[in-house]
């Protein structure tokens, strides 16, 4: 018998749980039910649940119970403040504490809506992180209708309501995140995808603007890639250095920033603004992280509804959400980058193969032409030939040799990108090269600066050596007696990723500004010797290693080449 009773109890209990569950999944139904329940539980005649509109700093009535509610009365909004006369609910939203009003006639906060109201009880709906989401308010036609007991009962009902609201918000966000995840995987156009991320972030976080900056490694700057409002026209143009402004700070330190307003924050630079500084109610930025490093910054802003409106702050939950969005984006970008590299590599391989075949065919033809030309000049040598004809023969021959030189350069270029990777101690290699060159060119003084710890990279030792040699020889070519070459190898660890950074600087004439863009292009040279594949090959080698190269010197002050290569941990036994 006892068992049967227990079973029945359990069934009742479970069906009750089920009802509760279906109510939770429809928060409106649940809130209405809670309001009705509240009236009954504390013996009130009317009641409201009103919610905070953070944008305007007002309390807005959402649900009403009891008699006499006209549309006009339901549409009342109250400023959230401790100033008198703004309604008891608004005062509770302001303090976050329950409030018992035994008699409205003498209450400074009371705002008359119904003439028969005598006493009121209001409790806050408190969400995660102590944030006031709204207020549950009940009233009575009797004086002194509510005491501590009623306040306790109402508070526990209010906590269920707050939970339902939080859960509903959470579910909305979760749904949006799942949707975004699907979109990220399916959107082929990266720019459309970035736009979409800012759109969703703004919507989910109730933000007025959202901007996305991504790190452009070639210039080492954060570049605006998507934005919604004022900054839209600056996409691709607005940039931050790492560490510059709040956005640069977030990228450099790989940490989020969440503040109310921005005026007064020492990190704030105000270089590119979605809003006027005084209009910003709240600012939040999180790093977009790739697998190994920060690849960008996602930032959102809320605007003040009016100058006197309170700050509408981003919560911890908001930060978590933005982080989740950013990490989904980071993963998507990484996939994209991987595909792009793969594509580039395949592209290079295809071009390399095509170049090799073409060079082979041309080489064969040139060989034949050289032979025919030789026989021709031999046969002509027995005839009286005018000098001009002789000159023509010579220039044809010279042109053929030039074609062969081009073929050779082409071969070098194709070979440069075919790597045999292994751990390489870059410090050792650089030291050795500098030693060799300082012996070979005694008229130039070399200055070498190395980190104490040896720096290792994964690379093709031969190709890396060629690249560095080419840079040094390139410098030497432009230097006079007494000039200097500074070679410096350091490990830089910005944004969590370890890089070997090799700087080769000289005191020569430097690279003219108008040539800076061209020096790494194939077949560009200001030197007499060679066809000018030197720096193009260096760039090819460095990029095939996943590195970057740039020239940052000033015209007239000397050239400065900076190579970065992803560093690895020292090979075993390599420390000694």
């Amino acid at each position: 018998m006892a068992t049967q009773q227990r079973t029945e109890e359990r069934i009742t209990h479970e069906s009750h749980l089920y009802r509760l569950w279906s109510a939770i999944s429809e928060p409106e139904t649940l809130l209405r039910a809670i309001l009705e329940e509240s009236l009954e539980a504390v013996g009130a005649t009317r009641g409201t649940i009103s919610l905070v509109d953070y944008r305007t700093g007002e309390l807005v009535t959402k649900f009403v119970a009891g008699l006499g509610w006209s549309e006009e009365k339901q549409e009342l909004r109250f400023k959230i403040t401790d100033e008198p006369g703004n309604s008891i609910s608004s005062y509770v939203a302001y303090t976050g504490l329950p409030y018992i009003c035994p008699d409205v006639t003498n209450d400074p906060h009371y705002y008359p809506i119904f003439p028969d109201t005598r006493s009121e009880l209001a409790v806050p709906l408190i969400g995660r992180g102590g944030r006031v989401l709204g207020v549950l308010n009940v009233e009575s036609e009797r004086v002194n209708a509510f005491g501590e007991n009623e306040a306790r009962v109402l508070s526990s009902l209010a906590s269920i309501a707050a939970f339902a609201l939080s859960l509903a918000a959470h579910q909305t966000r979760e749904k949006a995140l799942i949707e975004l995840g699907k979109e990220l995987a399916a959107t082929p156009d990266i720019d459309a995808l970035l736009e979409r991320v800012t759109e969703i972030a703004a919507k989910l976080l109730d933000a007025d603007d959202c901007s996305l900056f991504l790190l452009d490694k070639s210039i080492n700057r954060l570049v605006l890639r998507a934005s919604r409002g004022l900054l839209r026209s600056l996409v691709g143009k607005a940039t931050y250095r790492l560490g510059e402004g709040l956005t640069g700070w977030v990228a450099l330190h790989n940490k989020p920033a969440r503040l109310n307003g921005v005026v007064g924050d020492p990190r704030w630079k105000g270089l590119y603004l979605e809003l006027k500084p005084e209009e910003i109610s709240a600012f939040m930025a999180v790093p977009v992280r790739g697998r190994r490093e920060v690849v960008g910054v996602l930032r959102v802003l809320r605007k003040k509804a009016n100058p006197s409106a309170p700050h509408y702050l981003f919560s911890e939950e908001d930060e978590e959400l933005l982080f989740t969005l950013a990490s989904q984006l980071g993963a998507a970008l990484e996939r994209e980058e991987l595909q792009r590299r793969l594509f580039t590599m395949q592209h290079i391989a295809t071009i390399g193969e095509l170049a090799a075949r073409t060079a082979h065919m041309i080489g064969n033809k040139v060989f034949a032409m050289k032979g025919a030309l030789k026989e021709l000049s031999l046969q002509l040598s027995n005839l009286p030939l005018p000098e001009s004809a002789q000159r023509l023969l010579t220039s044809v021959e010279r042109a053929l040799y030039e074609v062969e030189t081009l073929l050779q350069d082409l071969r070098d270029f194709v070979k440069a990108t075919q790597l045999n990777l292994q751990p390489v101690c870059l410090s050792e290699m650089v030291e050795e090269l500098v030693r060799e060159y300082s012996q070979e060119f005694p008229h130039i003084s070399f200055e070498l600066q190395l980190d104490e710890q040896p720096i290792w990279v994964k690379g093709d030792p031969e190709k890396l050596k060629n690249a560095i040699s080419e840079l040094i020889e390139n410098s030497v070519h432009f230097l006079k007696e007494g000039d200097k070459i500074f070679v410096r190898l350091t490990k830089s660890t910005w944004v969590g990723q370890k890089h070997a950074r090799l700087i080769i600087r000289d005191t020569g004439p430097g690279v003219p500004d108008k040539l800076k863009e061209q020096i790494f292009q194939p077949f560009f040279t200001t030197r007499a010797k060679g066809m000018g594949l030197g720096l193009a090959i260096v760039k090819g080698i460095v990029e095939a290693h996943g590195g970057t190269i740039e020239e940052r010197g000033r015209e007239g002050e000397g050239a400065m080449f900076i190579i970065t290569l992803p560093a690895i941990e020292p090979a075993q036994g390599g420390e000694s």
Binding site: G363, N364, E404, R411
Partner: protein
């Protein structure tokens, strides 16, 4: 002078080499493909002294096939491999398999035809030396060879 076979699928190249070597007094045959070359080598009587063959013709390894045929016909035939861009690795393989030398067709600023003529000259000398050595060896081993025959 020597009996030489020049193998190249580029007609102009064949003719140019032929002319150059004939000037040095060699007797030069030509073949335009691996197949034609192998046929000519097999039926040549006496065998060629020197075979000059392009590396890449019908296949990447055409030169290697010509080399094999030449050595099969006469193990002392000297083979010189011609390579255009990119086929040096195959040429090295040929050297391992018994080619006398190889020559890159495109060396900027170098008269590769004169270089080829020089290499042919040396190959001829090498072959003459080898033939001389072989004769002496045969003369030395004559009695032993007779005994070997008897045992067979």
């Amino acid at each position: 002078m020597g009996r030489i076979l020049v193998v190249d699928d580029e007609e102009l190249a064949r003719e140019a080499i032929k002319l150059r070597l004939e000037r040095d007094g060699h007797q030069v045959d030509t073949a335009a493909s691996e197949a034609e070359a192998i046929e000519k080598i097999r039926t040549a009587d006496p065998p060629y002294d020197v075979v000059i063959t392009d590396m890449v013709m019908e296949s990447e390894n055409s030169g290697l096939e010509v080399l094999k045929a030449a050595l099969l016909r006469d193990v002392l035939t000297e083979v010189i491999i011609l390579t255009a861009y990119g086929s040096v690795a195959n040429a090295v393989e040929c050297l391992k398999r018994g080619a006398y030398d190889y020559l890159e067709k495109n060396i900027p600023g170098v008269d590769v035809y004169d270089l080829l003529a020089l290499k042919v000259e040396r190959a001829m000398e090498h072959r003459a030396e080898s033939l001389g050595l072989l004769k002496r060896l045969q003369a030395y081993q004559q009695p032993a060879a007779v005994q070997e025959e008897a045992r067979d």
